[in-house]
Protein backbone atom coordinates (compact mmCIF):
# COMPACT_ATOMS: atom_id res chain seq x y z
CA UNK A 1 0.00 0.00 0.00
CA UNK A 2 1.11 3.47 -0.83
CA UNK A 3 -0.43 5.45 1.99
CA UNK A 4 0.12 3.13 4.93
CA UNK A 5 2.84 0.85 6.23
CA UNK A 6 1.81 -1.65 8.84
CA UNK A 7 3.83 -1.19 12.02
CA UNK A 8 5.48 -4.29 13.49
CA UNK A 9 5.00 -4.70 17.22
CA UNK A 10 7.77 -6.91 18.50
CA UNK A 11 7.20 -10.04 20.51
CA UNK A 12 8.56 -9.53 24.02
CA UNK A 13 9.03 -12.43 26.37
CA UNK A 14 6.81 -12.04 29.42
CA UNK A 15 8.00 -12.91 32.95
CA UNK A 16 4.86 -15.07 33.09
CA UNK A 17 6.60 -17.48 30.72
CA UNK A 18 9.24 -18.22 33.35
CA UNK A 19 6.86 -18.56 36.29
CA UNK A 20 4.20 -21.10 37.20
CA UNK A 21 0.77 -20.31 35.83
CA UNK A 22 0.29 -16.64 36.74
CA UNK A 23 -3.23 -15.54 37.54
CA UNK A 24 -4.61 -12.29 36.09
CA UNK A 25 -7.97 -10.70 36.80
CA UNK A 26 -8.73 -10.15 33.11
CA UNK A 27 -7.21 -11.59 29.96
CA UNK A 28 -8.43 -10.25 26.59
CA UNK A 29 -7.93 -12.39 23.51
CA UNK A 30 -7.53 -10.28 20.37
CA UNK A 31 -5.86 -6.87 19.98
CA UNK A 32 -8.32 -5.68 17.35
CA UNK A 33 -10.46 -2.59 17.90
CA UNK A 34 -12.80 -4.30 20.34
CA UNK A 35 -10.16 -6.09 22.41
CA UNK A 36 -8.11 -2.92 22.70
CA UNK A 37 -11.17 -0.85 23.64
CA UNK A 38 -12.04 -3.40 26.34
CA UNK A 39 -8.51 -3.32 27.73
CA UNK A 40 -8.24 0.47 27.75
CA UNK A 41 -11.66 0.87 29.36
CA UNK A 42 -10.89 -1.65 32.12
CA UNK A 43 -7.46 -0.19 32.86
CA UNK A 44 -9.00 3.30 33.05
CA UNK A 45 -11.23 1.77 35.73
CA UNK A 46 -8.25 0.42 37.66
CA UNK A 47 -8.38 -3.19 36.44
CA UNK A 48 -5.06 -4.45 35.01
CA UNK A 49 -5.46 -6.35 31.74
CA UNK A 50 -3.36 -8.78 29.71
CA UNK A 51 -4.08 -8.69 25.96
CA UNK A 52 -3.01 -11.63 23.80
CA UNK A 53 -2.78 -11.36 20.02
CA UNK A 54 -1.51 -14.00 17.61
CA UNK A 55 -0.25 -11.38 15.14
CA UNK A 56 2.31 -8.58 15.38
CA UNK A 57 0.58 -5.73 13.58
CA UNK A 58 -2.72 -3.95 13.04
CA UNK A 59 -5.37 -4.74 10.44
CA UNK A 60 -4.04 -5.50 6.97
CA UNK A 61 -6.35 -3.56 4.66
CA UNK A 62 -8.85 -0.87 5.55
CA UNK A 63 -11.73 -3.21 6.57
CA UNK A 64 -14.11 -1.37 8.94
CA UNK A 65 -14.07 2.27 7.88
CA UNK A 66 -17.21 3.98 9.20
CA UNK A 67 -17.20 4.98 12.85
CA UNK A 68 -20.54 6.22 14.11
CA UNK A 69 -21.20 9.13 16.45
CA UNK A 70 -21.81 6.87 19.42
CA UNK A 71 -18.61 4.89 18.84
CA UNK A 72 -16.69 8.17 18.57
CA UNK A 73 -18.16 9.28 21.90
CA UNK A 74 -16.98 6.03 23.47
CA UNK A 75 -13.56 6.45 21.86
CA UNK A 76 -13.47 9.99 23.29
CA UNK A 77 -13.81 8.50 26.74
CA UNK A 78 -11.01 6.05 25.93
CA UNK A 79 -8.74 8.95 24.94
CA UNK A 80 -8.46 8.35 21.19
CA UNK A 81 -11.55 10.07 19.79
CA UNK A 82 -9.85 13.30 18.82
CA UNK A 83 -7.00 11.58 16.95
CA UNK A 84 -9.52 9.56 14.97
CA UNK A 85 -11.62 12.60 14.15
CA UNK A 86 -8.54 14.64 13.18
CA UNK A 87 -7.22 11.94 10.86
CA UNK A 88 -10.54 10.73 9.48
CA UNK A 89 -13.15 12.41 7.32
CA UNK A 90 -16.45 13.34 8.92
CA UNK A 91 -19.69 13.04 7.02
CA UNK A 92 -23.42 13.37 7.62
CA UNK A 93 -24.90 13.33 4.14
CA UNK A 94 -25.73 10.34 1.97
CA UNK A 95 -27.07 10.15 -1.57
CA UNK A 96 -28.84 7.23 -3.17
CA UNK A 97 -28.97 6.87 -6.95
CA UNK A 98 -31.20 4.61 -9.01
CA UNK A 99 -29.75 3.93 -12.43
CA UNK A 100 -28.53 7.36 -13.57
CA UNK A 101 -30.73 9.54 -11.34
CA UNK A 102 -30.52 10.76 -7.77
CA UNK A 103 -33.36 9.05 -5.87
CA UNK A 104 -32.85 10.94 -2.65
CA UNK A 105 -30.43 12.58 -0.26
CA UNK A 106 -30.39 12.17 3.50
CA UNK A 107 -28.71 13.98 6.37
CA UNK A 108 -28.01 11.75 9.37
CA UNK A 109 -27.36 14.61 11.75
CA UNK A 110 -29.70 17.39 10.73
CA UNK A 111 -29.42 19.26 14.04
CA UNK A 112 -26.42 21.12 15.39
CA UNK A 113 -25.13 21.03 18.94
CA UNK A 114 -23.33 17.69 18.87
CA UNK A 115 -19.59 17.40 19.24
CA UNK A 116 -19.26 14.47 16.84
CA UNK A 117 -20.64 14.07 13.32
CA UNK A 118 -22.87 11.16 12.36
CA UNK A 119 -19.83 9.32 11.00
CA UNK A 120 -16.10 9.57 10.61
CA UNK A 121 -14.50 7.41 7.95
CA UNK A 122 -11.07 6.07 8.75
CA UNK A 123 -9.22 2.97 7.69
CA UNK A 124 -9.25 0.36 10.44
CA UNK A 125 -5.45 0.17 10.56
CA UNK A 126 -5.23 3.82 11.66
CA UNK A 127 -7.85 3.31 14.33
CA UNK A 128 -6.06 0.21 15.62
CA UNK A 129 -2.71 1.97 15.60
CA UNK A 130 -4.15 4.80 17.71
CA UNK A 131 -5.69 2.31 20.12
CA UNK A 132 -2.35 0.48 20.43
CA UNK A 133 -0.62 3.82 21.12
CA UNK A 134 -3.20 4.60 23.77
CA UNK A 135 -2.89 1.14 25.33
CA UNK A 136 0.88 1.53 25.46
CA UNK A 137 0.46 4.79 27.42
CA UNK A 138 -1.29 2.85 30.16
CA UNK A 139 1.08 0.93 32.41
CA UNK A 140 -1.54 -1.65 33.32
CA UNK A 141 -2.22 -2.80 29.76
CA UNK A 142 0.08 -5.77 29.17
CA UNK A 143 -0.06 -6.18 25.39
CA UNK A 144 1.54 -9.41 24.20
CA UNK A 145 2.05 -9.84 20.45
CA UNK A 146 2.54 -13.24 18.81
CA UNK A 147 0.82 -14.85 21.75
CA UNK A 148 -1.60 -17.36 20.27
CA UNK A 149 -4.16 -19.03 22.51
CA UNK A 150 -4.23 -22.72 21.67
CA UNK A 151 -6.33 -24.10 24.50
CA UNK A 152 -9.05 -22.68 26.76
CA UNK A 153 -10.16 -24.67 29.78
CA UNK A 154 -12.76 -23.27 32.17
CA UNK A 155 -11.85 -24.36 35.71
CA UNK A 156 -14.55 -23.14 38.07
CA UNK A 157 -13.51 -19.72 39.35
CA UNK A 158 -10.93 -19.21 36.63
CA UNK A 159 -10.07 -20.00 33.04
CA UNK A 160 -6.86 -21.78 32.11
CA UNK A 161 -5.18 -20.76 28.86
CA UNK A 162 -2.40 -22.38 26.91
CA UNK A 163 -0.58 -19.72 24.91
CA UNK A 164 1.89 -20.42 22.13
CA UNK A 165 4.75 -17.99 21.48
CA UNK A 166 7.98 -17.91 19.46
CA UNK A 167 9.63 -19.22 22.68
CA UNK A 168 7.13 -22.05 22.99
CA UNK A 169 3.94 -22.45 25.01
CA UNK A 170 3.08 -21.27 28.51
CA UNK A 171 0.06 -21.38 30.76
CA UNK A 172 -1.96 -18.47 32.13
CA UNK A 173 -4.92 -18.25 34.46
CA UNK A 174 -7.62 -15.62 34.09
CA UNK A 175 -10.40 -14.76 36.51
CA UNK A 176 -12.27 -13.48 33.46
CA UNK A 177 -11.55 -14.13 29.81
CA UNK A 178 -12.82 -11.68 27.21
CA UNK A 179 -12.98 -13.20 23.75
CA UNK A 180 -12.64 -10.33 21.29
CA UNK A 181 -11.02 -12.54 18.68
CA UNK A 182 -13.17 -11.72 15.69
CA UNK A 183 -15.63 -13.40 13.37
CA UNK A 184 -13.89 -16.77 13.35
CA UNK A 185 -13.24 -16.60 17.12
CA UNK A 186 -10.79 -19.41 17.93
CA UNK A 187 -11.87 -19.14 21.60
CA UNK A 188 -15.48 -19.80 20.62
CA UNK A 189 -14.42 -22.80 18.56
CA UNK A 190 -12.16 -24.16 21.29
CA UNK A 191 -15.09 -24.06 23.68
CA UNK A 192 -17.31 -25.80 21.13
CA UNK A 193 -19.73 -22.87 21.01
CA UNK A 194 -21.69 -21.76 17.95
CA UNK A 195 -22.68 -18.51 16.36
CA UNK A 196 -25.90 -19.20 14.49
CA UNK A 197 -27.56 -17.44 11.57
CA UNK A 198 -27.54 -17.17 7.82
CA UNK A 199 -25.00 -16.80 5.05
CA UNK A 200 -26.02 -14.52 2.20
CA UNK A 201 -25.42 -15.84 -1.29
CA UNK A 202 -23.77 -12.77 -2.71
CA UNK A 203 -20.23 -11.53 -3.18
CA UNK A 204 -18.83 -8.03 -2.97
CA UNK A 205 -15.57 -6.52 -4.14
CA UNK A 206 -13.91 -3.87 -2.01
CA UNK A 207 -11.49 -1.73 -3.97
CA UNK A 208 -9.60 0.93 -2.04
CA UNK A 209 -8.21 3.35 -4.55
CA UNK A 210 -5.88 6.28 -4.10
CA UNK A 211 -6.82 9.38 -6.07
CA UNK A 212 -7.00 13.14 -5.80
CA UNK A 213 -10.59 14.14 -6.28
CA UNK A 214 -12.90 16.97 -5.32
CA UNK A 215 -15.75 14.53 -4.95
CA UNK A 216 -17.81 15.52 -1.89
CA UNK A 217 -17.31 13.77 1.44
CA UNK A 218 -20.63 11.93 1.40
CA UNK A 219 -21.84 8.36 1.22
CA UNK A 220 -22.98 7.61 -2.33
CA UNK A 221 -24.92 4.47 -3.06
CA UNK A 222 -26.07 3.33 -6.51
CA UNK A 223 -28.72 0.79 -7.31
CA UNK A 224 -28.29 -0.63 -10.81
CA UNK A 225 -26.00 2.13 -12.15
CA UNK A 226 -25.12 2.31 -15.87
CA UNK A 227 -21.44 1.62 -15.06
CA UNK A 228 -22.26 -1.56 -13.11
CA UNK A 229 -25.67 -2.78 -14.33
CA UNK A 230 -27.98 -4.87 -12.14
CA UNK A 231 -25.77 -4.59 -9.08
CA UNK A 232 -25.15 -2.01 -6.38
CA UNK A 233 -22.12 0.17 -5.75
CA UNK A 234 -21.10 2.10 -2.65
CA UNK A 235 -18.56 4.90 -2.50
CA UNK A 236 -16.94 6.25 0.66
CA UNK A 237 -14.09 8.63 1.23
CA UNK A 238 -11.35 7.65 3.69
CA UNK A 239 -8.27 9.43 5.02
CA UNK A 240 -5.20 10.13 2.85
CA UNK A 241 -7.18 10.47 -0.42
CA UNK A 242 -8.14 6.82 -0.29
CA UNK A 243 -11.62 5.98 -1.57
CA UNK A 244 -13.53 2.82 -0.82
CA UNK A 245 -15.60 1.44 -3.70
CA UNK A 246 -17.74 -1.54 -2.90
CA UNK A 247 -19.06 -3.41 -5.97
CA UNK A 248 -21.77 -6.01 -5.64
CA UNK A 249 -20.69 -8.94 -7.82
CA UNK A 250 -23.34 -11.63 -7.38
CA UNK A 251 -22.90 -15.15 -6.05
CA UNK A 252 -21.39 -16.60 -9.24
CA UNK A 253 -18.37 -14.28 -9.24
CA UNK A 254 -14.99 -15.95 -8.79
CA UNK A 255 -13.36 -14.31 -5.74
CA UNK A 256 -9.78 -15.02 -6.86
CA UNK A 257 -10.34 -13.68 -10.36
CA UNK A 258 -12.17 -10.57 -9.16
CA UNK A 259 -9.30 -9.60 -6.88
CA UNK A 260 -6.90 -9.26 -9.83
CA UNK A 261 -6.01 -5.69 -10.82
CA UNK A 262 -6.86 -6.38 -14.47
CA UNK A 263 -10.41 -7.15 -13.38
CA UNK A 264 -10.71 -4.24 -10.96
CA UNK A 265 -9.25 -1.46 -13.13
CA UNK A 266 -11.96 -1.54 -15.84
CA UNK A 267 -14.70 -1.58 -13.19
CA UNK A 268 -13.30 1.51 -11.52
CA UNK A 269 -12.60 3.22 -14.84
CA UNK A 270 -16.18 2.63 -15.95
CA UNK A 271 -17.35 4.33 -12.79
CA UNK A 272 -14.95 7.26 -12.66
CA UNK A 273 -14.64 7.93 -16.37
CA UNK A 274 -11.72 7.38 -18.75
CA UNK A 275 -9.74 10.40 -17.54
CA UNK A 276 -9.63 9.52 -13.85
CA UNK A 277 -6.18 8.88 -12.48
CA UNK A 278 -6.04 6.44 -9.59
CA UNK A 279 -4.11 3.54 -8.10
CA UNK A 280 -5.40 0.46 -6.31
CA UNK A 281 -4.41 0.49 -2.64
CA UNK A 282 -6.00 -2.72 -1.48
CA UNK A 283 -8.72 -5.05 -2.69
CA UNK A 284 -10.71 -7.87 -1.20
CA UNK A 285 -13.72 -9.98 -2.15
CA UNK A 286 -16.07 -10.86 0.65
CA UNK A 287 -19.29 -12.62 1.43
CA UNK A 288 -21.13 -11.96 4.62
CA UNK A 289 -23.18 -13.59 7.28
CA UNK A 290 -25.73 -12.46 9.80
CA UNK A 291 -25.47 -14.49 12.99
CA UNK A 292 -24.89 -14.36 16.70
CA UNK A 293 -24.15 -16.54 19.70
CA UNK A 294 -27.17 -17.44 21.81
CA UNK A 295 -25.45 -16.05 24.86
CA UNK A 296 -22.46 -13.71 25.09
CA UNK A 297 -21.52 -14.91 28.58
CA UNK A 298 -20.39 -18.46 29.26
CA UNK A 299 -19.39 -18.58 32.91
CA UNK A 300 -16.15 -16.66 33.11
CA UNK A 301 -15.70 -16.37 29.36
CA UNK A 302 -17.38 -13.31 27.84
CA UNK A 303 -17.65 -12.64 24.11
CA UNK A 304 -17.71 -9.22 22.46
CA UNK A 305 -17.63 -7.79 18.94
CA UNK A 306 -17.62 -10.00 15.85
CA UNK A 307 -16.83 -13.06 17.98
CA UNK A 308 -20.29 -12.66 19.53
CA UNK A 309 -22.30 -11.31 16.59
CA UNK A 310 -21.79 -10.75 12.91
CA UNK A 311 -23.76 -8.50 10.56
CA UNK A 312 -23.55 -7.45 6.92
CA UNK A 313 -21.44 -4.35 6.39
CA UNK A 314 -24.42 -2.27 5.17
CA UNK A 315 -25.20 0.03 8.04
CA UNK A 316 -21.76 0.08 9.67
CA UNK A 317 -23.06 -2.00 12.54
CA UNK A 318 -20.06 -4.29 13.09
CA UNK A 319 -17.25 -2.42 14.80
CA UNK A 320 -19.67 0.23 16.02
CA UNK A 321 -21.71 -2.32 17.94
CA UNK A 322 -18.51 -3.93 19.22
CA UNK A 323 -17.50 -0.68 20.90
CA UNK A 324 -20.93 -0.56 22.52
CA UNK A 325 -20.34 -4.09 23.80
CA UNK A 326 -17.17 -3.16 25.65
CA UNK A 327 -18.70 0.14 26.77
CA UNK A 328 -21.50 -1.89 28.34
CA UNK A 329 -19.23 -4.57 29.79
CA UNK A 330 -16.23 -2.73 31.24
CA UNK A 331 -17.95 -0.88 34.09
CA UNK A 332 -19.92 -3.95 35.07
CA UNK A 333 -16.86 -6.21 35.13
CA UNK A 334 -14.91 -3.60 37.11
CA UNK A 335 -17.68 -3.49 39.75
CA UNK A 336 -17.82 -7.29 39.95
CA UNK A 337 -14.03 -7.52 40.30
CA UNK A 338 -14.12 -4.88 43.05
CA UNK A 339 -16.73 -6.93 44.91
CA UNK A 340 -19.26 -4.10 44.57
CA UNK A 341 -21.73 -5.99 42.41
CA UNK A 342 -22.76 -9.63 42.09
CA UNK A 343 -21.73 -11.66 39.06
CA UNK A 344 -25.27 -11.59 37.74
CA UNK A 345 -24.64 -7.98 36.73
CA UNK A 346 -22.68 -9.58 33.87
CA UNK A 347 -25.83 -11.38 32.77
CA UNK A 348 -27.25 -7.93 32.08
CA UNK A 349 -24.38 -7.46 29.61
CA UNK A 350 -25.64 -10.55 27.84
CA UNK A 351 -29.29 -9.41 27.98
CA UNK A 352 -28.61 -5.84 26.84
CA UNK A 353 -26.11 -6.65 24.13
CA UNK A 354 -27.98 -9.63 22.65
CA UNK A 355 -30.97 -7.28 22.43
CA UNK A 356 -28.81 -4.73 20.63
CA UNK A 357 -27.31 -7.44 18.41
CA UNK A 358 -30.80 -8.55 17.38
CA UNK A 359 -31.67 -4.98 16.46
CA UNK A 360 -28.48 -4.75 14.38
CA UNK A 361 -29.14 -8.14 12.78
CA UNK A 362 -32.70 -7.16 11.91
CA UNK A 363 -31.61 -3.89 10.31
CA UNK A 364 -28.72 -5.48 8.53
CA UNK A 365 -30.83 -8.35 7.17
CA UNK A 366 -33.53 -5.96 5.95
CA UNK A 367 -30.96 -3.79 4.16
CA UNK A 368 -29.43 -6.87 2.59
CA UNK A 369 -32.81 -8.04 1.34
CA UNK A 370 -33.37 -4.64 -0.25
CA UNK A 371 -29.91 -4.46 -1.82
CA UNK A 372 -29.93 -8.10 -2.93
CA UNK A 373 -33.55 -8.97 -3.74
CA UNK A 374 -34.09 -12.70 -3.35
CA UNK A 375 -36.91 -13.08 -5.89
CA UNK A 376 -38.32 -11.44 -8.97
CA UNK A 377 -41.20 -9.83 -7.13
CA UNK A 378 -38.93 -8.50 -4.44
CA UNK A 379 -36.79 -6.98 -7.17
CA UNK A 380 -39.93 -5.43 -8.69
CA UNK A 381 -40.95 -3.87 -5.38
CA UNK A 382 -37.39 -2.65 -4.82
CA UNK A 383 -37.37 -0.93 -8.20
CA UNK A 384 -40.87 0.46 -7.59
CA UNK A 385 -39.68 2.02 -4.34
CA UNK A 386 -36.68 3.56 -6.06
CA UNK A 387 -38.83 4.92 -8.91
CA UNK A 388 -41.31 6.45 -6.49
CA UNK A 389 -38.54 7.88 -4.31
CA UNK A 390 -37.57 10.31 -7.07
CA UNK A 391 -40.88 12.13 -6.66
CA UNK A 392 -42.58 11.03 -3.47
CA UNK A 393 -41.26 11.61 0.02
CA UNK A 394 -42.94 8.54 1.52
CA UNK A 395 -40.98 6.16 -0.71
CA UNK A 396 -37.64 7.64 0.35
CA UNK A 397 -38.31 6.23 3.79
CA UNK A 398 -38.58 2.77 2.24
CA UNK A 399 -35.25 2.94 0.37
CA UNK A 400 -32.81 0.82 2.34
CA UNK A 401 -29.15 1.04 1.39
CA UNK A 402 -28.26 0.29 5.00
CA UNK A 403 -29.88 1.71 8.14
CA UNK A 404 -26.82 3.33 9.57
CA UNK A 405 -25.65 2.48 13.04
CA UNK A 406 -27.39 4.16 15.92
CA UNK A 407 -27.01 2.93 19.50
CA UNK A 408 -29.72 0.67 20.89
CA UNK A 409 -32.18 2.13 23.38
CA UNK A 410 -32.12 -0.48 26.15
CA UNK A 411 -35.68 0.29 27.14
CA UNK A 412 -36.45 -3.25 28.29
CA UNK A 413 -33.42 -3.60 30.53
CA UNK A 414 -33.90 -4.85 34.08
CA UNK A 415 -31.30 -2.29 35.19
CA UNK A 416 -33.69 0.58 34.39
CA UNK A 417 -35.89 2.19 37.00
CA UNK A 418 -39.25 2.82 35.33
CA UNK A 419 -40.59 6.37 35.21
CA UNK A 420 -42.80 7.50 38.07
CA UNK A 421 -43.19 11.06 36.79
CA UNK A 422 -45.37 10.51 33.77
CA UNK A 423 -44.93 13.93 32.18
CA UNK A 424 -41.49 13.00 30.76
CA UNK A 425 -41.47 12.55 26.97
CA UNK A 426 -41.21 8.98 25.72
CA UNK A 427 -41.02 9.33 21.93
CA UNK A 428 -38.04 8.75 19.64
CA UNK A 429 -34.97 10.59 20.88
CA UNK A 430 -36.39 11.08 24.37
CA UNK A 431 -34.08 10.35 27.30
CA UNK A 432 -36.14 7.39 28.47
CA UNK A 433 -34.55 4.89 30.89
CA UNK A 434 -32.18 2.80 28.76
CA UNK A 435 -31.50 5.54 26.19
CA UNK A 436 -27.93 6.54 25.33
CA UNK A 437 -27.41 10.12 26.45
CA UNK A 438 -27.57 13.00 24.02
CA UNK A 439 -24.73 15.45 23.72
CA UNK A 440 -25.18 19.22 23.89
CA UNK A 441 -22.93 22.27 24.03
CA UNK A 442 -22.14 23.52 27.55
CA UNK A 443 -19.61 25.64 29.35
CA UNK A 444 -17.98 23.53 32.02
CA UNK A 445 -14.74 22.63 33.75
CA UNK A 446 -14.19 19.47 31.69
CA UNK A 447 -14.87 21.01 28.30
CA UNK A 448 -17.50 22.47 26.07
CA UNK A 449 -19.63 19.37 25.61
CA UNK A 450 -22.03 17.74 28.00
CA UNK A 451 -20.66 14.25 27.32
CA UNK A 452 -17.24 15.38 28.60
CA UNK A 453 -18.91 15.62 32.00
CA UNK A 454 -20.89 12.39 32.01
CA UNK A 455 -20.02 8.74 32.37
CA UNK A 456 -17.00 6.89 33.68
CA UNK A 457 -18.96 6.42 36.88
CA UNK A 458 -22.59 6.95 37.82
CA UNK A 459 -23.59 10.55 37.24
CA UNK A 460 -26.64 12.45 38.39
CA UNK A 461 -27.49 15.22 35.96
CA UNK A 462 -29.35 17.80 38.04
CA UNK A 463 -31.17 20.82 36.64
CA UNK A 464 -30.73 23.82 38.93
CA UNK A 465 -30.18 23.35 42.64
CA UNK A 466 -32.01 20.04 42.62
CA UNK A 467 -29.64 18.21 44.99
CA UNK A 468 -29.07 19.47 48.58
CA UNK A 469 -25.33 20.00 49.30
CA UNK A 470 -25.12 17.27 51.97
CA UNK A 471 -26.59 14.77 49.53
CA UNK A 472 -23.98 15.68 46.90
CA UNK A 473 -21.33 14.56 49.39
CA UNK A 474 -23.25 11.44 50.41
CA UNK A 475 -23.64 10.35 46.79
CA UNK A 476 -19.94 10.90 46.09
CA UNK A 477 -18.87 8.91 49.15
CA UNK A 478 -21.16 5.90 48.67
CA UNK A 479 -19.68 2.45 47.96
CA UNK A 480 -20.70 2.93 44.36
CA UNK A 481 -20.06 6.65 43.98
CA UNK A 482 -22.28 8.96 41.99
CA UNK A 483 -21.09 12.35 40.80
CA UNK A 484 -23.50 15.25 40.57
CA UNK A 485 -23.34 17.40 37.45
CA UNK A 486 -25.50 20.45 37.87
CA UNK A 487 -26.96 22.35 34.93
CA UNK A 488 -27.32 26.02 35.84
CA UNK A 489 -28.44 27.20 39.29
CA UNK A 490 -26.20 28.44 42.12
CA UNK A 491 -22.90 26.71 42.89
CA UNK A 492 -23.21 23.60 45.08
CA UNK A 493 -20.08 22.38 46.88
CA UNK A 494 -18.91 19.06 45.42
CA UNK A 495 -21.08 19.28 42.32
CA UNK A 496 -19.64 19.93 38.84
CA UNK A 497 -21.51 22.86 37.40
CA UNK A 498 -22.12 23.39 33.70
CA UNK A 499 -23.87 26.21 31.88
CA UNK A 500 -26.45 25.16 29.31
CA UNK A 501 -24.79 27.18 26.53
CA UNK A 502 -27.63 27.06 23.99
CA UNK A 503 -30.48 25.72 26.08
CA UNK A 504 -30.10 22.35 24.35
CA UNK A 505 -29.42 20.32 27.51
CA UNK A 506 -32.80 21.39 28.88
CA UNK A 507 -34.48 20.69 25.56
CA UNK A 508 -32.89 17.30 24.89
CA UNK A 509 -33.37 16.02 28.45
CA UNK A 510 -36.69 17.78 29.06
CA UNK A 511 -34.98 19.38 32.03
CA UNK A 512 -36.44 22.07 34.26
CA UNK A 513 -35.56 23.16 37.77
CA UNK A 514 -35.62 20.05 39.92
CA UNK A 515 -35.29 17.48 37.10
CA UNK A 516 -32.76 14.68 37.73
CA UNK A 517 -31.37 12.20 35.22
CA UNK A 518 -29.37 9.28 36.61
CA UNK A 519 -26.77 8.03 34.12
CA UNK A 520 -24.89 4.77 34.16
CA UNK A 521 -21.11 4.73 33.72
CA UNK A 522 -21.69 3.91 30.03
CA UNK A 523 -23.80 7.07 29.59
CA UNK A 524 -27.14 5.29 29.33
CA UNK A 525 -30.07 6.66 31.29
CA UNK A 526 -30.86 4.56 34.38
CA UNK A 527 -33.70 6.67 35.82
CA UNK A 528 -35.20 10.17 35.80
CA UNK A 529 -37.29 12.15 38.22
CA UNK A 530 -38.83 15.58 38.64
CA UNK A 531 -37.75 15.95 42.26
CA UNK A 532 -34.94 14.82 44.54
CA UNK A 533 -35.38 11.84 46.84
CA UNK A 534 -32.14 10.33 48.18
CA UNK A 535 -33.72 6.93 48.83
CA UNK A 536 -35.00 6.66 45.27
CA UNK A 537 -31.57 7.49 43.84
CA UNK A 538 -29.88 4.89 46.06
CA UNK A 539 -32.47 2.34 44.99
CA UNK A 540 -31.97 3.14 41.31
CA UNK A 541 -28.19 2.75 41.59
CA UNK A 542 -28.69 -0.52 43.47
CA UNK A 543 -31.01 -1.71 40.73
CA UNK A 544 -28.62 -0.69 37.96
CA UNK A 545 -25.86 -2.73 39.63
CA UNK A 546 -27.95 -5.79 40.62
CA UNK A 547 -27.52 -4.86 44.27
CA UNK A 548 -31.27 -4.74 44.86
Amino acid sequence: MKTYTNPIYPYVRSPDQDAGPVRHPVVVVGAGPIGLAAAIDLVQRGVPVVVLDDDETVSVGSRAICYAKRALEILDRLGVGQRIVDKGVGWNVGRVFFRDTLAYRFDLLPETGHRRPAFVNLQQYWLEEYLVDRANELADVDLRWRNKVTRVTPRGERVELTVDTPDGPYTLHADWLLACDGARSPVRNMLGLESEGQVFRDRFLIADIHMKSDFPTERWFWFDPPFHPNQSVLLHRQADDVWRIDFQLGWDADPEEEKKPERILPRVAAMLGPDASFEIEWASVYTFQCRRMKSFRHGRVIFAGDAAHLVSPFGARGANSGFQDTDNLAWKLALVLAGKAPQRLLDSYDAERTFAADENLLNSTRATDFITPKSRVSRTFRDAVLELAKQHAFARRLVNSGRLSVPAVLSGSALNTPDVDMDFPVGPGAMVPGAPTADAPVHGSRGDWLLDHLGGEFTLLAFGNAVPPRDVAALAEAAIPCRVVQVGGGATPGATRVEDAEGLVARRYDGRAGTLILLRPDQHVAARWRAFDAARIRAAIARATCND
Binding site: V377, T380, F381, D383, A384, E387, L388, H392, A395, L398
Partner: protein
Protein backbone atom coordinates in the same frame (compact mmCIF):
# COMPACT_ATOMS: atom_id res chain seq x y z
CA UNK B 1 -56.27 0.83 14.77
CA UNK B 2 -58.83 0.25 12.08
CA UNK B 3 -60.40 -2.70 10.35
CA UNK B 4 -60.11 -3.43 6.64
CA UNK B 5 -63.31 -2.35 4.92
CA UNK B 6 -64.39 -5.11 2.51
CA UNK B 7 -67.89 -3.77 2.06
CA UNK B 8 -68.56 -1.86 -1.18
CA UNK B 9 -66.77 1.47 -0.86
CA UNK B 10 -66.06 2.58 -4.44
CA UNK B 11 -68.75 4.98 -5.64
CA UNK B 12 -68.46 3.78 -9.22
CA UNK B 13 -67.00 0.28 -9.37
CA UNK B 14 -67.13 -0.12 -13.15
CA UNK B 15 -65.31 3.18 -13.67
CA UNK B 16 -62.59 2.11 -11.23
CA UNK B 17 -62.15 -1.27 -12.91
CA UNK B 18 -61.83 0.33 -16.32
CA UNK B 19 -59.25 2.78 -14.94
CA UNK B 20 -57.27 -0.05 -13.36
CA UNK B 21 -57.09 -2.08 -16.56
CA UNK B 22 -56.46 1.09 -18.53
CA UNK B 23 -53.45 1.90 -16.40
CA UNK B 24 -51.76 -1.21 -17.83
CA UNK B 25 -52.54 -0.57 -21.48
CA UNK B 26 -49.62 -1.25 -23.85
CA UNK B 27 -47.34 -2.44 -21.06
CA UNK B 28 -45.25 -5.60 -21.04
CA UNK B 29 -45.83 -8.04 -18.17
CA UNK B 30 -42.71 -6.73 -16.51
CA UNK B 31 -43.82 -3.11 -16.80
CA UNK B 32 -47.25 -4.04 -15.51
CA UNK B 33 -45.69 -5.71 -12.51
CA UNK B 34 -43.79 -2.51 -11.79
CA UNK B 35 -46.94 -0.39 -12.07
CA UNK B 36 -48.78 -2.76 -9.75
CA UNK B 37 -45.95 -2.64 -7.23
CA UNK B 38 -45.94 1.17 -7.30
CA UNK B 39 -49.71 1.20 -6.88
CA UNK B 40 -49.52 -1.11 -3.85
CA UNK B 41 -46.89 1.11 -2.26
CA UNK B 42 -48.83 4.32 -2.93
CA UNK B 43 -52.08 2.90 -1.56
CA UNK B 44 -50.41 1.30 1.47
CA UNK B 45 -48.80 4.60 2.35
CA UNK B 46 -52.11 6.39 1.92
CA UNK B 47 -53.83 3.93 4.27
CA UNK B 48 -50.99 4.14 6.76
CA UNK B 49 -52.74 2.13 9.45
CA UNK B 50 -50.54 -0.97 9.91
CA UNK B 51 -53.51 -3.08 11.09
CA UNK B 52 -55.49 -2.35 7.95
CA UNK B 53 -52.48 -2.95 5.72
CA UNK B 54 -51.76 -6.27 7.48
CA UNK B 55 -55.39 -7.37 7.05
CA UNK B 56 -55.30 -6.42 3.38
CA UNK B 57 -52.07 -8.39 2.87
CA UNK B 58 -53.62 -11.42 4.58
CA UNK B 59 -56.85 -11.13 2.57
CA UNK B 60 -54.87 -10.84 -0.67
CA UNK B 61 -52.80 -13.89 0.15
CA UNK B 62 -55.78 -16.01 1.23
CA UNK B 63 -56.19 -19.10 -0.90
CA UNK B 64 -53.09 -18.39 -2.96
CA UNK B 65 -50.10 -20.74 -2.88
CA UNK B 66 -49.26 -22.45 0.39
CA UNK B 67 -51.09 -21.34 3.53
CA UNK B 68 -47.88 -20.15 5.15
CA UNK B 69 -47.64 -16.36 5.12
CA UNK B 70 -44.18 -14.94 5.43
Amino acid sequence: MGTLNTEPNLPSPDDFYEQLIGAHRDLSDEESALVNAKLVLLLANHIGDPEVVAQALAAAREGVGSTRTA
